[in-house]
């Protein structure tokens, strides 16, 4: 089998089983050079297993992986030289400071001392960590740890970067900064394989996205094509005081052509293929004794597409992951 020279990652029939659990059930996909490819799915869908298998931390039961044409089963170390890996948890050395961690990671890739030290300084500056360069990694905040872990992943300027949940469990400002860094890295030519459960993050950053559920890829497409599914849909969100579920039943009884759903945080989401008349619905809700704090039209998002394709409630998926992350620590 010969590879397309424009393909950075080529995966065919990749399968992996842990005991009774089929973690990956024969997945296929390609990532093109310079692409920012999103890998979306709920907890346990197979995202981290995919990264582990692609990067050589796990052995596949079946299938082939080519990294820039290199067959990983035959020459895994050559492939690893072309990759940077940022795991879902900071795995740098707590006893080393920021600068030492980066310089050490550079040494693992055979970088000469002057090169790795210059690169470490450059990355500390780029990630806004220069003032923390001499502080031990153990004393970093969660956001700083994530940034340094990403810096360690690109210390050797790899053409391909694997990012596993890069913004999970960190503060909004750090997450925003990391998203910008990811976009900049991609703009400078780095191919990025990004797993995330933040659908809006994937929508904003990625060109193409794969949805993975229970070890199977259920859909791969460009964000543009995926969003076409939402064309002609009209969505209105009502913020109501309470009883959203019973209010939904009332709306459904009143207007059977509307799809109505109670959403987390005390809201009702109304969807239709026709423009939704907000006024009559507000009056209906108020007649039912509800206090309507807000009614606004919502642009259908990739999250809607995700829910439609996978049948998984995206908000629940995000909360579950956040809880797991906060419990486990960074």
């Amino acid at each position: 089998m010969t590879s397309d020279p424009q393909t950075a990652i080529e995966v065919r029939g990749l399968a992996k089983r842990f005991g009774d659990v089929q973690a990956l059930a024969g997945i296929d996909f390609d990532v093109r050079k310079g692409e920012l490819f999103g890998f979306l799915g709920p907890n346990g869908a197979g995202k981290s297993t995919t990264i582990n298998v692609l990067t050589g931390l796990a052995r596949p039961d079946a299938g082939t992986i080519r990294i820039v044409g290199i067959d990983c089963s035959k020459n895994p170390k050559a492939a690893q030289h072309l990759m940077g890996v940022v795991p879902d948890e900071g795995n740098l050395y707590p006893e080393l400071n920021g600068f030492e961690n980066l310089a050490f990671c550079g040494a693992l890739y055979g970088m000469a001392k002057p090169d790795r030290e210059a690169r470490a300084k450059h990355l500390l500056d780029r990630f806004g960590l220069t003032n923390a360069a001499r502080r031990k990694f153990a004393g970093y905040s969660r956001g700083m740890k994530r940034k340094l872990t990403i810096a360690a992943g690109i210390i050797h300027e790899p053409p391909i970067l694997f990012l596993d949940e890069p913004t999970t469990g960190i503060d909004v400002a750090s997450a925003r900064q990391i998203r910008q860094l990811i976009a900049d890295l991609n703009a400078s030519g780095t191919t990025i394989f990004l797993t995330t459960h933040y659908i809006e993050e994937a929508e904003r950053l990625c060109r193409r996205i794969a949805f993975i559920v229970q070890g199977r890829i259920v859909r791969i497409d460009t964000v543009e094509n995926l969003m076409r599914r939402t064309e002609g849909r009209h969505v209105v969100h009502f913020a109501v005081s309470d009883n959203a579920r019973s209010l939904c039943d009332r709306i459904a009884a009143h207007s059977p052509n509307l799809q109505c759903q109670a959403v987390a945080g005390g809201g009702i989401r109304v969807e239709s293929s026709e423009p939704v008349q907000v006024g009559p619905l507000v009056r209906l809700l108020e007649d039912c004794g509800a206090e309507v704090a807000e009614a606004r039209k919502v642009r259908p998002s990739l999250e809607d597409v995700f829910v439609e394709i996978t049948g998984i409630e995206a908000g629940a998926m995000k909360q579950e992951k956040e809880r797991a992350k906060m419990g486990g620590g960074a």
């Binding site: 740098l92 040494a107 890739y109």
Partner: protein
């Protein structure tokens, strides 16, 4: 790619992070001192007993020093996931594990010479055959380190590594001829003695220090080297099977 850069930096990091830390330096000095004092007092035969005790104290110092450190440098890093970073590095697993173990080997050799330095001031060591003693100490340190590596990759918690180490270490004190001749052991225990690498290291040490070896030196060295190769090979296989699953 220059793998030696990775090798050297892994070793240098471990030396800084673990072996050259004050608690470990003091452990490396105090532990052999304690063993020396314990057996010296127990023997009750004064300074003359030092050449008899020295092989055992040296070997035990190496054994405990090396196996204890591997539980930290390997099991602890595996538990904290920083070991994954090493597995992702584009260097062969063999070289990576040699880098992770070379610090422990050096630590073990240094441990062995603490009682030797003490003995220099208390006993006549002019008859010691240094050209055989030094390579024997190095091989004992290598085999003990690889035994520690075998233990470290067989468990997932640091305390398990320490407990599992004792399963090997304490019987080895009594079964390998360090302090009690193998010939005086019950007949049924002797095969077990010959299945332990330290038996051959102890024999070279006894031969080098007091000219009282029981087996040909070449055989001792060959068997020690074979144990080193086997323990390293099995450890690598276990890493591939258990950690790269």
């Amino acid at each position: 790619m220059k793998p030696w850069i990775a090798f050297w930096n892994i070793l240098a990091k471990d030396m800084r992070s673990y072996y050259l830390k004050p608690p470990n330096i003091s452990w490396g000095i105090v532990f052999p001192l304690a063993w020396t004092a314990m057996f010296f007092i127990r023997s009750g035969s004064g300074l003359d007993s030092i050449p008899n005790l020295l092989p055992g104290v040296m070997a035990v110092s190496v054994l405990f020093g090396t196996t204890s450190m591997l539980a930290v440098t390997v099991t602890f890093e595996k538990k904290g996931r920083s070991f994954e970073r090493l597995l992702l590095a584009p260097i062969p697993l063999e070289l990576l594990m040699l880098a992770k173990t070379t610090g422990a080997i050096a630590f073990g050799v240094a441990n062995a010479f603490v009682p030797v330095i003490i003995a220099v001031f208390l006993a006549d060591l002019s008859t010691v055959n240094w050209p055989t003693l030094i390579p024997a100490v190095v091989l004992i340190a290598v085999s003990s380190t690889f035994l520690g590596l075998f233990i470290a990759v067989s468990v997932s918690e640091v305390f398990e590594a320490q407990t599992f180490s004792n399963f090997f270490r304490f019987p080895m004190i009594f079964l390998t001829g360090l302090f009690f001749p193998i010939e005086k052991l019950p007949l049924w225990l002797r095969p077990l003695s010959y299945a332990l690498p330290l038996t051959y290291g102890a024999d070279v040490l006894h031969a080098s220090i007091r000219g009282a070896g029981h087996m040909p030196l070449l055989l001792d060295f060959a068997l020690l080297a074979a144990f080193c190769a086997a323990l390293f090979g099995v450890s690598l296989r276990n890493i591939r099977r258990r950690w790269i699953v």
